[in-house]
Symmetry: C2
Subunit: 211 residues, 2 copies
């Protein structure tokens, strides 16, 4: 029996650096499939359609909602963000790990439907550092900045709904921690029922051989 892939949900407050950490992880683990979100927000400078996001319009997005085409979707800062469902499921069924980099609202919705996923919360080493990073991005109006601060502060409370915390003080180390988490999760007893059942089958055979 083909082993299913693992869904790895990498999330955290805005400014925690989850995008940078995921890119570093994928550079070292090219066999892992990145789930690309769909959004109706405007591309930021340097963002590429089909790479950072699938950029689309509101009408198209709402059609896909109607058709049940999203694993999760949410409206954040007035824009839609969603995870196309079929892409994720097909890869998992084919035994490929899928990594989902999404905001906290999205991650919690995925968790409702997909509790067997691995939920990783990326945090900055301190809140001061988070503030610095949100400001340093320099692509937002001051009103949007304040909204992001407050949202990030509130979002930290959702940490207890996650399985793992990865502190992003070094991108390299944070990406390595995600690798270790995936290796460990694949060793979890509750994810290896097929294997140990087959070992137990081997036991019965061996015992009947002894009789």
């Amino acid at each position: 029996m083909k082993r299913k892939g693992l869904l790895i949900v990498v999330s955290g407050p805005s400014g925690a650096g989850k995008g940078t950490v995921c890119r570093e992880f994928l550079r070292n683990n090219p066999e892992t499939v990145l789930s690309i979100s769909m959004t109706t927000r405007q591309p930021r400078r340097g963002e590429v359609d089909g790479e950072n996001y699938f950029f689309t319009d509101v009408a198209t997005f709402e059609n896909m909602i109607e058709e049940g085409g999203f694993l999760e979707y949410a409206k954040v800062y007035g824009n839609y963000y969603g995870t196309p469902k079929s892409f994720v499921k097909e890869n998992l069924m084919a035994g490929r790990d899928v990594i989902l980099e999404i905001d906290i609202q999205g991650a919690l919705k995925v968790k409702e439907k997909f509790d067997e996923g691995v939920f990783i919360f990326i945090v900055p080493p301190t809140m001061e550092e988070l503030k610095r990073r949100i400001q340093g991005r320099g692509t937002e109006t001051s009103e949007e900045l304040l909204r992001r601060f407050n949202s990030a502060y509130q979002e930290i409370n959702f940490i207890t709904r996650y399985n793992y915390i990865v502190i992003n003080d070094s991108v390299k180390e944070a990406a390595k921690k995600i690798e270790a988490i995936i290796t460990a999760e694949k060793c979890r007893v509750d994810r290896n029922k097929d294997f140990y059942t087959s070992l137990q089958g081997g036991i019965d055979n061996a015992l009947s051989f002894n009789r």
Copy 2:
């Protein structure tokens, strides 16, 4: 606050290769402390007192039982095996990880008292391989061999009481998996309450600054 060390319990049926895997792990992670068991059984060829085991006599061992000096102890194949308690606790309190290589009876007793430990079950890739390994050791009488086979077969059923399965088809890979498990466990949300509580403290400060 000093972070406590992690207790890593490496266990599995006789012949699974837990000793070899632990040695490989310790070679690459010399900062991890090996808990040395005490036993009343005779040393096997090549075993060194204070390295493989503390070898002792029955009277001394039973005195230590009386004094509550063991984290766990058991009689296996007519011999006592036990884990001296103070050594483990002192190292954990000092922030050092401790690795315990013990049989399944011992591991399950440790779990009763020390549920926050990480319980790793080492298994051979197949039961045929386990049989081959037990035979290959060549240091037992045929009666002892049969007892070991049957015991190993029954012990596989305890796998569900463990957190992780590590399949020992390659010692190097198995040792790396233990490393990954330790890294991942240190990232678990429920092991990082102090950290995220301090982050949340940072939140309150930042919010009062905003007012």
